[in-house]
């Protein structure tokens, strides 16, 4: 049955929401990022109950719900657990142009994986199990991008 709606020109209103935030980084991640910024070092924290080492550090052990008060400096080397070559462009979201590689890297001395970029290598050459090391930026601001990427260990 014809409806009055059939003849309506439906309009589209282009909008955008832009709201500023000042997120507190908290003592756990602040310590992690200050060590990264000031000394170029990657630290994790360990559960006093199960011994699991988290990196980036967490406020609580996900299994034991314990405070993670023991801090450990990690060598910055690790193994690629999984990866993806990103082929699509998202200029606002992605800090770099595609194609680029994300990986989950199991850092030596840690029990959790860290998601970051894998660089310094042809994206087609990245493999699971590849040994990598962190490349620290020269100019650092105290956030996750102070690690430039992980590159294969020659």
């Amino acid at each position: 049955m014809p409806s009055w709606k059939d003849d309506v020109e439906v309009l589209v209103d282009e909008g955008k929401i832009s709201v500023p935030y000042s997120w507190t980084v908290g003592s756990t991640l602040s310590r992690f990022y200050c060590e990264l910024r000031d000394n170029g070092k990657i630290w994790g924290n360990r559960c006093p109950s199960c011994g699991k080492v988290f990196v980036p550090p967490k406020i609580k052990c996900i299994d034991c719900y314990e405070d993670l008060r023991d801090w450990v400096m990690l060598p910055g080397t690790g193994t690629v657990e999984t990866y993806t070559v990103v082929r699509y462009q998202e200029p606002v979201l992605h800090p770099r142009k595609a194609p680029f590689v994300y990986g989950v890297i199991k850092l030596d001395g840690a029990d959790t994986g860290m998601v970051h970029f894998i660089g310094g290598v042809d994206p087609e050459e990245v493999k699971v199990g590849m040994r990598v090391e962190a490349v620290i930026e020269g100019e650092r601001e105290g956030n996750i991008l102070d690690i430039k990427h992980f590159r294969p260990i020659k």
Binding site: P56, T84, L93, T112
Partner: protein, 383 residues
């Protein structure tokens, strides 16, 4: 276990899946809810509360539930919100009834994916202090999970492609579907690379849609509807894994295993393989279907693709999976799980039309929340 009152789904309403729908999301909710009330054969005045499945980010409005108050028949009643998949909205609806506080409950979900930026919004699901700055989103994180799953069990992209072939094929029988397609494994393999190992046809489409269920406590369900109409919520289980991707083994389905066990125990299911007649499983990406089927205990870990290749999950197979066409054929995020429950309800009534699964007496419906299936909700529905 002491006797617990049962809850039934007595009405369902769905809009046809769409892209760039000319309807506002409130208009879509109005359509789905009107249809569901009519389907239940009740008056709008019989309803005493509403659960909306709404997301402020997707809608671009804060307190998004309030934007669908009129459309969902909530005016003058209690309205509340679940921000997550529709399967969790239905869970909250059932809990409200079982609390004894509420009677007939509407659960409605809507999504207008084509109005905004899928990648931008799912990027905002990540910790702004860690992963968000890297630009991760639902697609790139799923790709990390797909690769981990392949590596753990020696699986191939061609095996995942078969899921896409099957589900798009199933969609050919579903008149509401967005992407009914007869395609081949080669078509999937040759589709545009998105984030390896995922190609375009491994990914679900950005979709618009709204779906509403009418839930009723046992006594009212029996008074108001016939046995042919009502479908019982026989079991439900839900469980959550770690938020941060690196804190989980992405190929480990431990949260889903727990959720499934709870749902099976509640429904009295001992052997899901034998007792479930069909399943709607959350296939936002092709690889997810076999991975979740393993978590659901339908097959052993790493064996999902093998069963798929043997035709177990085909429309005419031993345990048809996603006879509706699944999320690969239409995925209004968050509404999708509620659609799956509505689809299962039609199947159990024997009213699914061309995609009716023969002898459908017990259905499994599965929904996920969060990146890479952080959280799972498993439903057992039955006649």
């Amino acid at each position: 276990m002491r006797y617990m009152e049962k809850v039934a789904i007595i009405g369902v309403g769905m809009t046809k899946y769409d892209r760039n729908s000319p309807l506002t999301f409130a208009e879509m909710v109005f359509e789905a809810t009107s249809k569901a009330i009519e389907d239940a054969g009740i008056s709008k005045d019989d309803v005493d509360n509403v659960v909306t499945v709404s997301s402020d980010f997707w809608d671009g409005r804060t307190i998004s539930t309030m934007a669908v108050t009129d459309a969902s028949n909530a005016y003058g009643r209690d309205i509340t919100c679940v921000e997550g998949d529709g399967t969790f909205g239905a869970l909250y609806g059932m809990m409200r009834i079982l609390s004894g506080t509420f009677g007939i409950t509407i659960v409605c979900a809507h999504h207008k994916g084509t109005e905004s930026s899928m990648n931008g919004i799912t990027n905002c699901a990540f910790d702004p202090l860690v992963e968000r700055k890297l630009g991760l989103d639902a697609v790139s994180s799923a790709a990390l999970q797909a690769r981990r799953y392949m590596e753990k069990h020696g699986l191939l992209e061609e095996q995942f492609a078969l899921v896409s072939v099957k589900n798009h094929g199933n969609a050919m029988r579903n008149p509401r579907s967005l992407l009914p397609m007869e395609i081949t494994v080669d078509d999937v393999m040759n589709s545009r690379k998105i984030a390896d190992p995922l190609k375009l046809l491994d990914c679900s489409p950005v979709t618009d849609g709204a779906c509403t269920l009418v839930l009723a406590p046992e006594r009212q369900a029996k008074k108001l509807t016939t046995t042919k109409k009502r479908v019982w919520m026989k079991g439900v289980g839900h469980c959550t894994d770690a938020f941060r991707l690196g804190d989980r083994d992405l190929a480990d389905t431990r949260a889903l295993k727990k959720a499934a066990k709870r749902a099976y125990d509640m429904a009295g299911i001992v052997d899901p393989r034998e007792e479930i007649d069909f399943a709607e499983v959350y296939d936002a990406f092709s690889y997810m279907e076999p991975l979740w089927l393993e978590g659901l205990g339908i097959c052993d870990d790493g064996k999902g693709c093998e069963y798929l290749e043997r035709g177990w999950f085909d429309y005419g197979g031993k345990l048809p999976v996603n006879p509706s066409g699944g999320r690969l054929s239409a995925n209004p995020v968050q509404a999708a799980g509620l659609y799956a429950m509505a689809e299962a309800t039609l199947q159990l009534r024997g009213k699914a039309g061309k995609h009716q699964v023969r002898g459908a007496g017990t259905a499994l419906v599965h929904g996920i929340n969060g990146m890479c299936g952080q959280s799972h909700c498993v439903w057992i529905l039955g006649r």
